[in-house]
Symmetry: C2
Subunit: 403 residues, 2 copies
């Protein structure tokens, strides 16, 4: 029993889809029972979003979910037709038919449970089950979607239910120490731990939906991430593999398009920070790094980063906030990138942070904000210095292939 997930880029045309159909048939014949989770074809979800934004300035979320859910219904029914055409028993199931039950919320819902009775009926009948990713049905029977990358979540949740491996096929051929689109010498990892993958996903590596990694970790699902066009050579995401413990740093990620907001010398700090972050949360602004420093006289300074696309919303919150509170000054800096280093090895090896600070200092890289977690450390640095910084850090922590 395996769950496979194919992303939209490998389903963007009928011809590409036909190749995926062949792969699925081969896998079924070689390895047996199979659940396949699909994203929408190519840019279908974006096209539907575009249609919605033409129809309404502020599309109601319930109807938006109903609209977006059609994307996967199209891809699954077409793929199932192809399998039937090749004389394979196959059936396409949408979220409601596959028993994928979600919580009440729209557009960014969570899977509550999966009623696998109907899936089992087909599996027991030698049928390949093709399930729409990204969607489910809530208690009132409304269609709800799981947010961007939600098909990963669907696939991992099904694997958790069936206690089987999950294969995520995508347009990258595995997980690298650094982003191979920008770092030519990035090394591909054959294995990575859930925790490192979680940090990498949250830190902007964009390979797999963070919630999907969380579910995999919670239910101990082995996840394979690899190319939809190759059979092997991808990366396994598993529980703390020993070989990784020996490395200090597993991966490095760079996130551009961030904005850093600094509020200097704010009075009545703690209460006001709560007010500010409540307002940001209400506007669904994903605040990322947060750093605050207490000053004398009950003053404090606060800095945080957020995606640059939220800048207009942030400004609309800061304006009244500033009027109602005592703040010396507010800086908005859009010239920065975030560089993060991740590794379980950080736990057991001390001195990694100091080594990084030393390297940045030697090379005059002007870091602003620093935040750390148990297995990661992140810096905001000027975007025009990211090339230099990644080069130095990759070399220091052996992240690149030898040239």
């Amino acid at each position: 029993m395996i769950v496979q997930k194919y992303g939209g880029s490998s389903l963007s045309t009928i011809d590409k889809m036909r190749k995926i159909a062949s792969r699925i048939i081969q896998s079924f014949e070689e390895k047996g029972p199979l659940i396949v989770v699909l994203s929408a074809m190519g840019n279908a979800t974006n096209d539907l979003l575009h249609l919605a934004s033409n129809a309404s300035k502020n599309p109601s979320k319930r109807e938006l979910d109903m609209l977006l859910a059609t994307g996967e219904q199209v891809s699954t029914s077409l793929l199932s037709m192809m399998l039937n055409d090749a004389n394979k028993k196959a059936v396409a199931l949408n979220g409601f038919q596959a028993g994928i039950k979600t919580e009440g919320k729209f557009t960014k819902n969570k899977i509550k449970d999966i009623d696998i009775n109907r899936i089992n009926h087909y599996l027991n009948n030698d049928t390949i089950v093709i399930i729409t990713g990204f969607q489910g049905v809530n208690q009132t029977g409304d269609i709800t979607t799981l947010g961007r990358g939600g098909s990963d979540t669907t696939a991992v949740a099904l694997s958790a239910k069936y206690l089987c491996d999950c294969e995520i096929y995508t347009d990258v051929d595995g997980i690298y120490t650094m982003d191979p689109r920008f770092q030519k010498n990035a090394k591909k990892l054959s294995i990575i731990s859930y925790e490192e993958m979680s940090e990498l996903a949250y830190l902007g590596a964009n390979i797999m939906e963070p919630r999907a990694v969380e579910i995999a970790q919670k239910y101990n699902v082995n996840v394979y991430v690899g190319s939809a066009h190759e059979k092997k050579g991808g990366t396994w995401i598993k529980e703390n593999p020993k070989m990784i413990e020996q490395k200090h740093i597993t991966g490095l990620s760079v996130k551009d398009d961030i904005v850093m907001i600094s509020l200097h010398k704010m009075a009545n700090g703690q209460k006001n920070i709560a007010t500010l972050f409540n307002a940001l949360a209400e506007h669904e602004i994903n605040v990322d790094m947060i750093s605050q420093t207490p000053l004398e006289n009950n003053l404090l300074s606060l800095a945080f980063t957020a995606p640059i696309e939220d800048l207009i919303a942030i400004k609309s919150i800061l304006k009244p906030f500033r009027e109602n509170h005592t703040i010396a000054s507010i800086d908005i800096d859009t010239t920065l990138s975030k560089v993060s280093l991740v590794g379980i090895g950080m736990r057991s090896y001390s001195g990694i942070a100091s080594r990084i600070f030393e390297l940045l200092n030697i090379h005059a890289i002007d870091y602003k904000l620093t935040t750390t977690s148990d297995i990661s450390i992140s810096y905001t640095i000027p975007t025009n210095q990211t090339r230099l910084a990644t080069q130095i850090l990759a070399e220091a922590f052996n992240l690149g292939v030898e040239s």
Copy 2:
């Protein structure tokens, strides 16, 4: 309480859809509770069919229904967004959410029942309910579609359930005595009986789905057919209105693109006819007119018409059939059209058939096959004589506007 149905051509763009949204709001404010049934946007259904035919030479019907059903889910969710945007409470429901229960079959299913609990919940809450036409869910939870024109069926079935009027808005502004696209002097009818409408629909007038008319008749639903861009001036379909009884003929229709097959001097007629028509039914060929004449020596001659697009399939059936049976000759004629005259008046006025035969004879119109029903009479005549025939018949039975 009203049910309104809007066809795909009035929903082909976001702008057109916005006009429909305004109409719906106005109707809701003026007349109260409203269920709206929508077709897919413009050519969406054909585009999806095209996608399916690219994916598979012979798409499995279950998956095809699942694919096609997305068309109405897109149009209903977009329209509902527009109504919400205008601060109107509205909700889009697909077939399963609207409780539209169908029988087991795919692609040409029938509505078995409608569980209106969920619809009522919204109606009681001052919400405009937008329902996907053309689709429902069968007992096993599979999505099934109702065949071409199935949205009409959905709308009329909902009207039957609510004992209310049904308004069908389309790209024609009513029902005419003849097809106004080809007969410039056709007269618009303000009222027509179910029976006449049934005959006109079956005979090729293509304005409303025949099954929808049947359901309207069965449950005595008053149906208004009119333009989606005008408010009045359409045609009511009702139970035998008296004013129509006084006319001999209510309408005339012409159907091109037919093929007439004639089998001459076939032995063991009755048994063989059954074999042949079983084979045609298995290939889902819509045999239309059928005429058979017994000859001496247990021989008979048979002629029937079918849509010209079924000719290849018909030939594939006739070839083995001819080899296995004794038939003097088989003719295939693709140069014919079918002209039909419909009127409840035929019941009470005798001599209409003879008047028509006389007219055709006088003007040397070469009719081949003739079939009659209680309120209609149809002829196949050479396509190049249809213009002359309709002119003569329209004049004789007062079907044209006075010029």
